[in-house]
């Protein structure tokens, strides 16, 4: 277990700058998730930390030691890949022991570690099989086992669950969380799946076009997104956005005036400024009679039942608004409705800089 510190990291493929001046401090024992759409540079960043990708500038420290110029195997890391990357001609035992044999680890130590990892991952019975005789979930376990036996200080995961079906993915997610708890290891984990990120991470770094947009704990990220991009990317369905104008402590959106006395501004905004108001679907409800909350007229478009709750879609002027509703309530809805907003849960963004106000 040791901390990782990335400072000023940059990397370009020709003219394309895939990583721009990245700073990423990861504390010992932390589970950091790099989250972002494809092409945002998250895998490149992970590969750079692993030493598999040359970098153009910046430093990488692992456990307080500058490893920027070191070979991957000399950095004290282990890595799990999306395609598992098991050596197809070796048995599971051979796969697990390969790295240790390369480093000429004593035989007894190798066997001890394999036994330990196999028990931890429940792959004892598979040790003599070839990777081709394993299911996807079993292969993933072996790939994790191969990382575990290294007893590395830092574990790197590159979209390890993407190739699994939905059910297995949920199971493995729980498994990974358990492993992190049991080992207390430092983990850096790349994914484009925000559910995975939210459930696993102690901190999430949301990336876009080679930059980190926000690096914060999942709750913080969800409740107070730092940029318009983070607000739109994290959360499913996405946050509702409506343009408005800031007038004397309220936001005017069409006919609706939203009071902001509960909103914590990061800086004092200018009156008369254009803003984008964001509100999550679960904070939009049907207005009741003489509702004190700000409300807006809308017409019902359609309902998406999701089991635990139903997603209602409404047209409100030029905007489409999603609301997460209890199924019983949703069943009775049609025609014109009035939607109420939970005002203590809104986010305001500057339409130009896209930063949170």
């Amino acid at each position: 277990m040791s901390a990782v510190s990335v400072r000023g990291l940059s990397k370009a493929f020709g003219v394309l700058r895939v990583l721009r001046d990245i700073d990423l401090p990861v504390e010992a024992g932390e589970f950091t998730v790099l989250l972002g759409p494809s092409g945002c540079g998250k895998s490149t960043l992970l590969n750079a930390i692993a030493g598999l990708e040359d970098i153009d500038g910046g430093t990488i420290e692992i456990g307080g030691v500058d490893v920027t110029q070191r070979e991957p195997s000399k950095r004290g890391i282990a890595m799990v890949f999306q395609s598992y990357a098991l050596y197809p001609t070796m048995s599971v035992r051979g796969n697990l022991s390969f790295g240790l044999r390369v480093k000429s680890t004593p035989k007894r130590e190798v066997e001890k570690r394999i036994a330990w990892a196999a028990r931890l991952l429940q792959i004892d019975e598979l040790l003599d099989r070839k990777p081709s005789q394993l299911s996807g979930g079993q292969r993933q376990r072996v790939a994790i086992g191969r990382a575990l036996v290294q007893q590395a200080k830092v574990f790197l995961f590159d979209e390890p669950l993407s190739n699994l079906d939905a059910k297995l993915r949920t199971e493995m997610r729980v498994e990974l969380k358990r492993l992190h708890k049991e080992l207390g290891a430092t983990i850096i984990y790349v994914t484009h799946d925000q559910i995975e990120a939210m459930t696993l991470a102690t901190r999430i770094a949301v990336m876009r076009a080679g930059r980190i947009e926000q690096y914060a704990a999942p709750d913080n990220l969800y409740e107070a997104p730092a940029t318009l991009f983070v607000a739109g990317f994290v959360g499913s369905p996405a946050m509702n956005f409506m343009p408005g104008r800031l007038v004397a402590g309220t936001v005017d959106i069409g006919a609706m005036s939203v009071p902001l006395n509960l909103y914590q501004f990061r800086s004092i905004p200018n009156s008369g400024q254009n803003v984008i108001l964001g509100i999550r679907p679960e904070h939009v409800t049907l207005a009741v009679a003489d509702d004190q909350r700000p409300a807006i007229d809308a017409s019902t478009l359609f309902m998406e039942p999701m089991g635990a709750d139903t997603l209602g879609w409404f047209q409100c002027g030029a905007h489409r608004i999603a609301a997460r509703l209890p199924p019983q309530v949703a069943r009775g809805i049609s025609g014109n409705v009035r939607l109420a907003f939970a005002m203590d849960q809104v986010s305001l963004f500057d339409p130009v800089s896209e930063a949170r106000l």
């Binding site: 590969n47 070979e71 195997s73 890391i77 890949f81 990357a85 070796m90």
Partner: protein
């Protein structure tokens, strides 16, 4: 329905008749050669070329192997056979091994100027080698190994490398790069990854490469004639010498037997590993 199956059956029969005729037509030369090699000299002279041998025997084969004459040498083609083997084994082993390492390096390691190397490999694979025969002769005589066993082996390795490298490069490029990354993180270097991870996965392509090189080198005539030197003439060169010797009566039965003996190794390879051979051709053709 019934009508349709009836017609389909007639179609099938027609198809088979055509295929069998085609087969026969194309195998006539081979059959004639085999038949002739089993005849005695008298029979060859008296009867038609397509007649079957009346008392088939391997006398001509034995003569071709042990005592057929090329000029004043009457040692038979077995001399050339062993020469061919001595040329073949090191040429095939070296070109396949070096080609596989080159292909592995080009596909999985960031080699500076890899694209330019690829371009030269493609050029090397497609420029007819007759074009550079003369400069090669000059080169080898300058360094003093012209007309020797090392010389002909070097020539075969040189001419084999472009195709071998491309073949292996294409094969290794199809393997996930994460395998190499995983092995690097496990601490393995260039050679260890090659020997422990890549080579064990390359059995099929190694067989394909070996077959391609073996048939190519065994069937070579021109390079052997030019570079091998008098003492190392491969079997093909000797065969040509036997069949063009014009002293006395031309022994067609011995000539055909010698031809069959020369063609036997590649023929056997085609028979026993045709499946790999086809795979190798397509691998080279589609992706090359």
């Amino acid at each position: 329905m019934r009508e349709a199956t009836h017609q389909a059956r007639i179609g099938r029969i027609g198809l088979y008749v055509l295929l069998i005729w085609t087969c026969l037509f194309f195998s006539i030369p081979l059959l004639v050669v085999i038949a002739t090699s089993l005849k005695t000299s008298d029979e060859v002279r008296t009867f038609s070329i397509v007649s079957l041998p009346m008392t088939p025997g391997f006398a001509a084969w034995a003569k071709a192997w042990y005592s057929a004459c090329t000029g004043l040498n009457c040692g038979g083609v077995h001399v050339g056979f062993w020469n061919s083997v001595r040329i073949l084994l090191p040429s095939v082993i070296i070109s396949v091994l070096v080609g596989s390492v080159t292909g592995y390096a080009l596909s999985h390691w960031r080699v500076r100027g890899a694209n330019i190397i690829m371009l030269f490999l493609l050029l090397g694979a497609f420029i007819p080698y007759q074009v550079i025969l003369y400069p090669l002769v000059k080169m080898f005589s300058t360094i003093g190994i012209y007309s020797s066993l090392p010389c002909i082996i070097a020539v075969h390795v040189l001419f084999g490398l472009p195709v071998m490298s491309l073949l292996f490069r294409n094969f290794y490029a199809g393997l996930p790069e994460e395998l190499v990354k995983a092995a690097r993180i496990d601490g393995a270097g260039f050679w260890r990854i090659f020997a422990w991870v890549m080579l064990p996965m390359s059995v099929n392509i190694l067989i394909v490469a070996t077959i391609l090189q073996t048939t190519g080198i065994w069937n070579d005539y021109l390079l052997g004639l030019i570079f091998a030197g008098r003492d190392n003439m491969p079997m093909t060169v000797q065969l040509n010498a036997i069949s063009t010797t014009s002293t006395g009566v031309i022994e067609y039965n011995v000539n055909t037997a010698a031809a069959l003996l020369t063609a036997l190794p590649p023929l056997l390879i085609y028979f026993f590993s045709g499946r790999y051979f086809v795979r190798g051709i397509t691998a080279g053709a589609v992706k090359g």
